[in-house]
């Protein structure tokens, strides 16, 4: 069996890459994709823990399902708002969404 550390390292890497993406990307769509990476990392964590812990720990699998559902809801909503902003400003770049400052 693959040791659990491998899964944890994979998920930590994914999480870090996602976080870097959130910080470095300027397009709202790319930021959303990076957030998806972070959430996928979390889901991997939950599933790995649930599999390696005793059989009663299936709540981890349930949790992973909820994570996926919520992520989908968030992306759907975000795309709607990005589209609205794009219609008004002709950009999906978060740096140009700057009417609220100081």
């Amino acid at each position: 069996m693959i040791p659990i550390e491998n899964f944890l390292i994979l998920s930590a890497l994914l999480f870090a890459i996602g976080f870097y993406g959130v910080m470095a990307r300027r397009s709202a769509i790319l930021i959303l994709m990076s957030v998806e990476l972070m959430l996928a990392a979390v889901a991997i964590n939950f599933i790995a823990f649930a599999t390696y812990l005793d059989a009663d720990a299936f709540s981890g699998l349930v949790f992973a399902l909820f994570v996926i559902t919520v992520a989908a809801a968030e992306v759907g909503l975000a795309l709607g708002i990005v589209l609205r902003l794009y219609r008004e400003r002709r950009t999906a770049n978060v740096d140009e969404a700057d009417s609220l400052k100081w």
Partner: protein
Amino acid sequence: MSLAQELHYIGPALALFVGAGVVLFADVLSGRRAPRWGLTLAALAVALAWTFVLAMDGDARGEALSGAVRVDAFSIYFAFLLVGVTLAVVLCAKRWADSIEQGAEFYGLLLISAASMVLLAQGNDLITIFVALETTSIAQFIMAGLARTDRSAEAGLKYLLTGSVAAAVLLYGFAFLFGMAGSTSLPVVAEYVASAPESGRLPLLLAFVFIIGGFGYKMALAPFHAWVPDVYQGAPSIVGSFLSVASKAAGFAVALRVFYTGLGGGDSFMAEDWAIFVAVIAGLSMIFGNTGALLQTNAKRLLGYSSVAQAGNVAVGFAAVAAGSTIGPSGVLFFLGTYAVTNLGAFIAVHVVAERLGTEEIADYAGLSRRSPALAAVLSLCLISLTGIPPTAGFIAKVYIFNAAVQTGHDWLVVLVAVAVVNTAISAFYYLRWVRTMWMDDPVEETRFQPAGAVQVVLLLSGFGVLLFGVWPGPLINAARSAAETLSIL
């Protein structure tokens, strides 16, 4: 446990959820021609939820839905607070909701958000907490972007992007907590933490930092506060009033629930580790919030920064851990109770001015005392209370929470209280400058105006509450104390 009892335990949240469904269906069935129904139905649903809360036995303690939710004095205290705030917001929203196309959707989302917050304060399982947190957040993202203005869409987008990152961070912490404890149920997690080996310290600490980061976003604590001023300014002002009071209270409720019910609070062997971390971000919140507010000319943006600073004050109570004592959490509860009354009054007054005078600039508040004396009086009272000057509720709340922190006897908490006191002095500058503008400066025009009837009632109640809790805080303090005592379950 019988089904009736379980339903009774989740009654308030259920009434709000069903109410949201009814509001949305009525809107569709009536062909979107009767926006007034939205208000009536929403008010009815909230009133029903309120009765459910009042019908609850204050001493009840128990779990419902196979341990997914917990009912105790703590959850009832927050249900009372959150449903009360929702009722006030519904009553004040009429004019604005009638002016937009999606009035019914606004009421529906407001009820969904409120229902999830009530569930959040009841959460007894990490899954319940996560789902309730995300439901309330997603409803708030939409509400923030609901107005047909450019800024509103921008606020919605910023709120959503930062919110989903915070959710991912929180979940990462939850995953580690689950991996170590082997269960998502808070009582099981509590048992694990109570008997955790010394080797569990580092992974637990990692989980704590992630969880505090995720909740800190909801509580509007620095350095997770960057969204607050933008969203408060860009979102419709009535939505801002809901966010600034209810969302923050729910954030503190769930953080206290996780850290005191799930992680053993002051009794745990790691209490000081996370408490010092909370103390640092509390200090940062006060400093960032107050220095940011000094420069603001926009009333809503100023309230946004002020809300960050106030979150720092509340977090002093959160950080005040002591073995076998819940004086810190009781301070948080009491502070949030007075803060709800105070900030709601201030934000609704700003909402009224924005609606009637079409301005959010503080300079345009000049001479408000002559144009609408009652409004100016309530707003001034609320601002004085936010500063923390007697005989208002804000003064008692600050004294109580700082005293609680000092009494726990940690040196670093005394330093934190010193920072807080200095910050109170700084905050007086921008709060009182605003009050002075209202009473001393000459108005540009002299036309008088009055808020609508229901709004007047809410404003008067809030002003009355600020004074009442300022001179007679006993009952609220007792309620907060007995609520905080039910937090610990081991």
